[in-house]
């Protein structure tokens, strides 16, 4: 049952990724402007251009180009970046950890902020506290990450300058890292001075990304909690003498969390999508920031590679959430 569900999901995942590959390929190929002409100095001859076109495979038909590219992708060869003249996969792997770390910190913050608001709102249901939480989460939800980022830059970068507003890490620091997972490595190596510097750079973009998601978690979880709190077993726990907070944390949360979990999965992909512009805003050296440069430089192989990696990330998250849901939901587990 579970295995069958997993295999079907895997198949639809492959179809979705194939669709993404087709769409991005078509979009990029109809682009006016010759990327090859932009690479060469003004005096280049037609023979030079033809040679370079052949080198990047641009002299073949679009369908041929697509399948050459796709067969490369399947083997892990995403081609060579035109603007940076390096292997696309290498470039992507170099930047992806920065984005993953940012998104993970943002997710943790969203769950922490949203969860706290939901529990507080459910405990104080029907009071002014709940109304205040509703208003706060409504505003947090309506304002997108881009605007939150700008608000935070003004508040904590200019008005009360407590955080750095650009970059991933202070440039004067010596980095002893072997991988690009700076934050993770700084903790493993017990270099907490670097952890602090990294977090100081990450905090504002992470909050900007986290706030809309925190609002959704708060609204949805609070709703489920309120429903669960009227059920018999919760009432029984209350009769046994547990305090309301204990009742919520020990009894209600477990069952109320499931609907929220599925939604958080989809919303987490939106959060990762948001890193593109938020990274730009804070000059954070992640994948999204590089993607915008790639578009501006018309670096076709790099754009294709980055879009596909984002898409892969999205479908993997959805798969993980789907599987987690199936494992946690007793109805599906035994069905």
């Amino acid at each position: 049952m579970l295995l069958q569900r997993f295999l079907i999901r895997l198949l639809t995942m492959a179809i979705t990724l194939f669709g993404v590959a087709v769409v991005v390929f078509i979009v990029i190929r109809v682009a006016p402007g010759d990327p090859i002409a932009m690479m060469l100095p003004p005096g280049a001859t037609d023979a030079d251009i033809a040679r370079l076109r052949a080198l990047y495979g641009l002299d073949k038909t679009i369908v041929q180009q697509f399948f050459i590219w796709l067969s490369g992708v399947v083997r892990g060869d995403f081609g060579t970046s035109i603007s940076l003249r390096q292997d696309v996969l290498g470039l992507v792997f170099n930047r992806l950890p920065a984005t993953l770390e940012l998104a993970s910190v943002a997710l943790v913050m969203a769950v922490a902020i949203g969860g706290t608001m939901a529990i507080l709102g459910a405990r104080e249901r029907g009071t002014a506290v709940e109304a205040g939480i509703d208003i706060a989460s409504g505003a947090a939800l309506s304002i997108p990450d881009f605007l939150w980022g700008l608000v935070l830059i003004l508040l904590f970068g200019v008005l009360v300058p407590v955080f750095d507003i650009s970059g991933r890490v202070s440039p004067q620091l010596d980095l002893p890292f072997a991988t690009q997972f700076y934050l993770f490595e700084s903790i493993v190596r017990l270099r907490f001075d670097l952890t602090r510097d990294l977090l100081a750079h990450m905090l504002m973009p992470a909050i900007a990304l986290a706030l809309p998601l925190a609002a959704i978690i708060s609204q949805l979880l609070k709703q489920s909690l309120k429903e669960v709190l009227d059920l018999d077993y919760v009432v029984l726990a209350r009769v046994k003498g547990f305090s309301e907070t204990q009742v919520i944390l020990r009894e209600a949360l477990k069952n109320a969390a499931l609907p929220t979990l599925t939604l958080v999965g989809v919303q987490f992909t939106f959060l990762i999508g948001g890193t593109v512009i938020v990274e730009r805003l804070f000059s954070y050296e992640g994948l999204g920031n590089m993607a915008i440069d790639a578009v501006i430089n018309r670096d076709l192989p790099l754009i294709q590679g980055i879009v596909l990696v984002f898409a892969l990330l999205f479908v993997l998250i959805n798969l993980a959430v789907d599987m987690m849901y199936a494992l946690l939901n007793p109805r599906l587990r035994h069905g």
Binding site: V27, A31, P144, L154, I277, I292, R298, I303
Partner: protein
């Protein structure tokens, strides 16, 4: 009962506040040449980075101050509202038309139509939207129509998903079955019976989408990929403000406040309208 009345009052107040701001902004956009105190493009290096009127060093006639080229900020915001509203209306209606149509078809007919449309939606959802928008505008070339097309191409799925689900729910209702027994055709039922019942959702989504379109336009301007660089846009002003943030904070603050108010108003206006239209909530 009391709670319902309070929430109805609240929703009416929201509707009026949001609608009021949008009306002011819309009127300012339409009559921009009449209400703007200065020429939004006029540069004057003698007047660079003037602060807003309540601070020392302000010049009369430049209410919100000037940017680093001496251009009047208020006038640029007013003219920027034109582009914001054109993009909001055009892009949202285009996305709505495509998405609602496909959602209605998928939800009402089900089967293969639904499978194909849902699969396309899945593919679309696997793109990071902002990156997709930037890519499309880069491909189509900068300009107003490119921005509108890009937003519509990306955001139709928002309408499609909601309308599909709603149509599915409506299609199972008795009145649809009755219409079928009465001998109405399938397309007739879809358009005459089901469509009117999903209109409240469409209206709410439309308003929400207008707010999103304004943001996307601002983001595109921010990365310098929107309209030509001459025309003032909110995002363009924000990009300038971000650069001169330590010398002239007002160049960032005022367009940011304008954007936030506009986005909040669009989403609240949509919610308010939905509450008005929805027979269950009413």
């Amino acid at each position: 009962m009391d709670e319902a009345r309070i929430s109805r009052h609240g929703s009416r107040a929201r509707l009026w506040l949001a609608g009021g701001w949008l009306l002011i902004a819309l009127l300012a956009a339409i009559f921009a040449p009449l209400v703007a105190p200065q020429d939004p493009l006029a540069q004057d290096l003698m007047l660079e980075r003037l602060p807003p009127f309540w601070l020392g060093g302000a010049e009369p006639g430049y209410w919100l101050g000037t940017d680093s080229l001496g251009r009047d900020l208020l006038s640029r915001l007013i003219f920027g509202a034109r582009i914001a509203f054109i993009v909001a209306f055009a892009a949202a209606f285009a996305a709505c038309l495509v998405g609602s149509t496909l959602g209605l078809i998928a939800g009402y007919f089900g089967g293969w139509a639904d499978r194909i449309i849902s699969r396309i939606v899945d593919v679309w959802m696997a793109f990071p939207p902002v990156l997709f928008a930037i890519l499309l505008v880069a491909v189509l070339g900068t300009g107003l129509s490119s921005v509108i097309i890009a937003i519509a191409v990306i955001d139709w799925t928002r309408f499609c998903r909601v309308i599909r689900a709603e149509t599915m729910g409506q299609s199972r209702m008795d009145y649809v079955e009755n219409a079928r027994i009465a001998g109405y055709g399938r397309i007739g039922i879809m358009l005459r019976e089901v469509l009117p019942n999903v209109v409240p959702s469409i209206v709410a989504l439309l308003s929400l989408e207008m707010g999103i379109a304004v943001i996307v336009e601002a983001i595109l301007s921010f990365v310098n990929l929107s309209i030509s660089t001459d025309d003032p846009t909110w995002g363009g002003i924000i990009a300038e403000g971000r650069l001169s943030i330590h010398q002239a904070w007002w160049v960032l603050v005022f367009p940011l406040v304008t954007l936030i108010l506009t986005v909040l108003s669009f989403s609240q206006f949509g919610e308010g309208l939905r509450a008005r239209f929805d027979p269950v909530l009413r």
